[in-house]
């Protein structure tokens, strides 16, 4: 069974530029999560989707971050414009459903904002 796929793996941009990350969850997983992990810290949830609807985006900085999961499968996370403090690893995870305890993580996208 294929795992969670993410691309790109690395991205370097200048501040005020835009960037987008892509995630393809495990086939059949209805719930998709985007996390931000700053170096040396645990992941912080940015947004959670159930199918193509948003369940929780309370910690998403909505003035610059946006995310969508139009067909309830893959998802994109966008930052526009980027700030220096956005430098982090962006992890995508999926689970079978909203009450499933186990989340499966992708390898992440390491973003560096200069």
């Amino acid at each position: 069974e294929a795992g969670v796929a993410q691309s790109p793996r690395y991205k370097i941009i200048e501040k005020r530029q835009s960037v987008a990350f892509w995630c393809n969850p495990i086939s059949g997983h209805a719930t998709l999560y985007w996390y931000q992990q700053i170096l040396g810290q645990g992941p912080k949830l940015l947004i959670q989707f159930q199918n193509n609807g948003v369940v929780d985006d309370s910690q998403l900085p909505k003035d610059r971050f946006s995310a969508e999961r139009l067909k309830g499968v893959d998802s994109t996370l966008k930052i526009q414009p980027a700030k220096l403090e956005d430098s982090a690893v962006y992890l995508c995870a999926s689970s079978a459903g909203p009450y499933s305890y186990e989340q499966f993580f992708g390898p992440g996208t390491r973003l560096t904002v200069l």
């Binding site: 719930t31 992941p43 949830l45 159930q50 992708g106 992440g108």
Partner: protein
């Protein structure tokens, strides 16, 4: 705001030594999970503990959930270099329409040969 504090933050030991990592909170969780994350990879689930006082063993790793379901510990016996990584605890609770997961601050373990 629910917080999970892990200690120690960093740990460097020799192969063969034992170690314990702690995960503490003032909040009660429905369950608690432990993940290991290697450089350049996402976290991988090691274990889920659900019942207060529960103890689970995974080869040389022993996980315990506190009686009050607010804290947990991970004990590694005879550490090996392959145990090197970032260990994360994560507390889960029912948040309305979904289970919510909050991650701890992490413990970076380096096992030297």
């Amino acid at each position: 705001t629910q917080l999970l504090e892990q200690s120690p933050q960093f740990l460097s030991i020799q192969e063969g030594e034992n170690l314990t990592v702690y995960c503490n909170s003032s909040s009660v969780f429905s369950s608690l999970q432990w993940y290991r994350q290697e450089p350049g990879e996402g976290p991988v689930l090691l274990v889920t503990v659900v019942t207060g006082g529960e103890v689970k063993k995974l080869k040389r790793l022993t996980f315990q959930f506190g009686d009050a379901r607010k804290d947990s510990s991970l004990h590694i016996t005879a550490a090996q270099t392959g145990d090197t990584g970032l260990y994360l605890c994560a507390g889960a609770w029912y948040g309305g329409a979904t289970n919510k997961l909050i991650f701890g601050t992490g413990t970076l373990l380096a096992v030297q040969p």
